[in-house]
């Protein structure tokens, strides 16, 4: 079924110079193991559209059941140079939680868990 990531994940974001990072965290290892195959840097780059001008890099953290995404050139320069309302990418985590995914039936028990 199609669901938004907010039903299965947590996210927190902040700035790294001109880039932002979004940590995407899962509550169950089964969901994390599915996510690391599906939620690639390409999928995330495409979700963010015009927000992310640069590349997206992805890191895996098996111990936390988490993926870390670096969104390249996503802050209009970053820090005090940026003219943007969200110059530090504080809200980018919330944006990723709105991404729609095809969630497998065998994991549906974890939705909103």
């Amino acid at each position: 079924m199609k669901i938004e990531l907010k039903k299965i994940a947590h996210a927190r974001s902040g700035d790294k110079g001109p880039n932002s990072n979004v940590g995407l965290l899962f509550r169950h290892p089964e969901v994390y193991n599915w996510a690391r195959k599906i939620i690639t840097s390409t999928v995330v780059k495409s979700h963010f559209g015009s927000v992310v001008k640069g590349d997206v890099r992805r890191y895996e953290m098996d111990n936390l059941w988490a993926l870390n995404f670096i969104l390249g050139d996503s802050l209009g320069g970053g820090g005090s140079e940026s003219l943007l309302n969200d110059a530090q990418g504080k809200t980018h985590g919330q944006a990723l939680l709105l991404m729609e995914v095809d969630f497998p039936e065998n994991l549906e028990v974890f939705i909103n868990e």
Binding site: K16, G23, M61, G79, L83, N85
Partner: protein, 449 residues
């Protein structure tokens, strides 16, 4: 597990809750209170304050705080570690000693020196340090004449040294944020720089708590599951001699500490998690175990470190032109269409006046300012806030922008309001230049009164 110390953080940034540190002291036992006042460009503000007034250049809020809590600090023997010294820890100490004297209290205050290299930049460049931008690779020459401040993120052993010498308050400038928590652990347990797993553990603990309540239920995805946010408890590390530690908060406070609140914060401002570089060590954030013990207690163990790098990070700030931003609220039928028209009018009029900017921004708050076009736009919008911004080296041109906002209230479409606070004025842009310096060129020093 043997010895344990309780290290709290009551300030995640300059501007954080002024009551949080007071509550940490009063609501339960702690041994150390860490307080972070320095963001990347804060030091540039302090450096300029010091140029105007030689006795300025540190976080005044910190002095106000100590004025409130000093008798309790002394009676409970809580030690305070802070970077509030900014670019003038000596003057900050003088201000604190004056308060102590007025209260009839004797107190030992240690200051950390050696991070501020503003006056030595020419020396270093003459001796071959290139200060190339760590992110963009740009040459330092391009900004050399515009530098406002230059500070090295120095190691945490100097904090431990000040504590070894009996300081109750340690005042640093630019030490690493996690170092504020690592320093006390080094002091208490005698950890050595080559015990890299222990140094990594202290650094991870400091990373988790450095943003205050962001690990105890603040900024948490499941915000509706957090109880009593109004009385949110700030974080406490229970650090053991073997490097295992527990993240918790005082009993009876609001907020939440669980696997997810702590994990979210571990991910905050994270780059490559297998190489988290601090002045003291390189931490592997994919290495450790995290166990939720329940009752607002989360345990971390088996943290692995890698050898520290041969360089310190340097935070340089510099003047990078001017910017201004202004906003208007547009309401009623076709609010978004009218807002788009208002933006177009203002840009056209500025262009007519000969103002073309190096950079400008048009944002629709309530629609797309944070997430671009990720969300679809609702059919019925009651109101939208238009936010415009410009950036340029020409201050006059930036100020000219500020004069073009208010007129559209009467000479644009209807339903436009929300112009308060006068014309937006040009503000200096203080930009951040991250770079590196070989560790052997930096001499740190500790001075306890």
């Amino acid at each position: 597990m043997s010895n344990v110390i309780r290290i709290a953080n009551g300030q995640g940034f300059w501007g954080d809750s002024i009551d949080a540190p007071v509550n940490l002291i009063n609501d339960g036992p702690i041994d150390y209170l860490t307080l972070d006042y320095l963001a990347e460009v804060t030091l540039s503000i302090m450096q300029r304050q010091k140029l105007k007034h030689p006795e300025a250049g540190y976080a005044r809020d910190f002095v106000d705080l100590i004025d409130r809590v000093l008798p309790d600090l002394v009676s409970k023997n809580v030690k305070v570690i802070s970077n509030a010294g900014g670019v003038n820890p000596e003057a900050c100490r003088d201000a604190l000693l004056k308060i102590a004297k007025a209260k009839g209290i004797n107190i030992k205050i240690g200051i950390i020196k050696g991070d501020n290299i503003y006056d030595e930049l020419d020396n270093f460049t003459a001796n071959g340090v290139d200060f190339k931008n760590l992110e963009s690779g740009e040459d330092f020459d391009s900004i050399k004449d515009e530098v406002y401040s230059a500070n090295v993120y120095i190691d945490s052993f100097c904090i431990a040294r000040a504590l070894d010498e009996g300081a109750q308050i340690v005042l640093a400038g630019r030490v690493s944020d996690p170092g504020l928590a690592l320093g006390p652990a080094i002091h208490e347990f005698g950890w050595k720089s080559n015990e890299i797993d222990l140094i990594a553990a202290g650094t991870l603990a400091g990373h988790i708590t450095e943003c205050g309540a962001q690990c105890t239920g603040g900024n948490y995805t499941r915000w509706n599951e957090v109880e009593d946010l109004a009385n949110i408890g700030y974080p406490i590390i229970e650090m053991y001699e073997n490097g295992e530690f527990i993240i918790t908060k005082h009993d009876g406070t609001g907020g939440l500490v669980n696997r997810q609140t702590v994990s979210e914060q571990i991910l905050y401002e994270m780059g490559d998690p297998s190489h988290y570089i601090s002045p003291d060590v390189c931490v592997d954030f994919t290495s450790f175990d995290l166990v939720d013990l329940g009752e607002n207690r989360v345990k971390l163990s088996n943290i692995k470190g890698l050898e520290a790098t041969p360089t310190y990070k340097v935070s340089i700030s510099y003047f990078a032109g001017y910017k201004a931003s202004g906003q208007l609220t547009i309401s009623g039928p076709d609010a978004l269409k009218k807002a788009e028209l208002v933006a177009a009018l203002i840009w056209k009029r500025l262009e007519n006046a000969g103002c073309i900017y190096e950079d400008k921004s048009t944002e629709f708050l309530g629609i797309s300012s944070c997430h671009g076009d990720i969300n679809s736009i609702p059919k019925q919008i009651n109101e939208v806030v238009l936010r415009l911004g410009v950036k340029d080296n020409d201050k006059d041109k930036v100020n000219r922008f500020g004069k073009e906002i208010a007129p559209v209230i009467t000479n644009g479409p209807p339903g436009v309001t929300g112009f308060a606070g006068g014309r937006p004025k040009a503000q200096e842009i203080v930009a951040y230049w991250p770079t590196l310096i070989p560790k052997n060129l930096i001499k740190t020093d500790v001075d306890v009164n």
